[in-house]
């Protein structure tokens, strides 16, 4: 898998995939998409780089240990329970704010489900990459744990 075309293609496609994955998260509440799908797509971008240039390059590109990303994602997702709990509703009840930014007619709605989706996104990216990187590397020596 060290062909020049594949390498160059991966470099060009990977950022696009990350961008599309972010779009999927944002529109996911009402339309097809969401944190899980977005996370998988984003992970596939890094997996592409790992295939084209090796796991080391993909790890450097990610900059953060995948398992730590899982932890951060879980923290974000669990954090989305807090606003509802403080306001006196059942945990994870969706709370929304409407922001009138550029178009007065259609305000931007932001809410805790989006935060939860972001957490899911990070968690999925982390878990998927942890698995992919581990399996790619494990041909010589299987590291302990997942």
């Amino acid at each position: 898998m060290r062909s020049v075309i594949f390498k160059a293609g991966a470099r060009a496609v990977a950022p696009l995939l990350v961008l599309v994955s972010a779009l999927l998260v944002v529109r996911g509440h009402n339309e097809p998409g969401g944190g899980f799908v977005g996370g998988l797509l984003c992970a596939s971008a890094f997996a592409l780089v790992a295939l084209a240039e090796g796991v080391g390059a993909a790890r450097r590109l990610l900059r953060i240990e995948p398992l730590r990303l899982v932890g951060i994602g879980l923290l974000v997702a669990l954090g989305s329970a807090i606003p509802a709990a403080i306001a006196g509703f059942a945990p994870f009840t969706g709370l929304w704010v409407s922001l009138q930014l550029w178009d007065k007619a259609s305000p931007v709605k932001l809410g805790t489900p989006l935060v939860f989706d972001l957490g899911v996104y990070l968690t999925v990216v982390g878990i998927a990459l942890a698995m992919i990187f581990t399996l790619e590397e494990s041909d010589d020596d299987a590291p302990a744990g997942l």
Partner: protein, 116 residues
Amino acid sequence: MTLLLACSIAILFAIGGYLLMRRSIVRVVFGLVLLSHGANLLIFTSANLVPLRPPIARAGAPAPEPPFADPLPSALILTAIVIGFGVLSFTLVLVRRAARELRVDDVEELCSERPR
């Protein structure tokens, strides 16, 4: 539609059950994969399968008349698939490591050699 799905589930369960009884560990794992697919299809079949009647209402419109397809089983299956995917990938890594370190791919040997 339901009959077709029921037949596929039966075939999946039959092959899965057969593989589960084999001595080779890899086949046992394949059997588990097929069984879990069968279980997922079974949940899908419980979703009141009526073609062309999605459970979607426009804003302000009344809820659609039954019968309509039930979306909940799809959500359940999605969860089950994700969980099953994670557990199975773990199982495969485990079997691979066992094959390398213990040099066995046989259920009988695996269970009889203890205590090592």
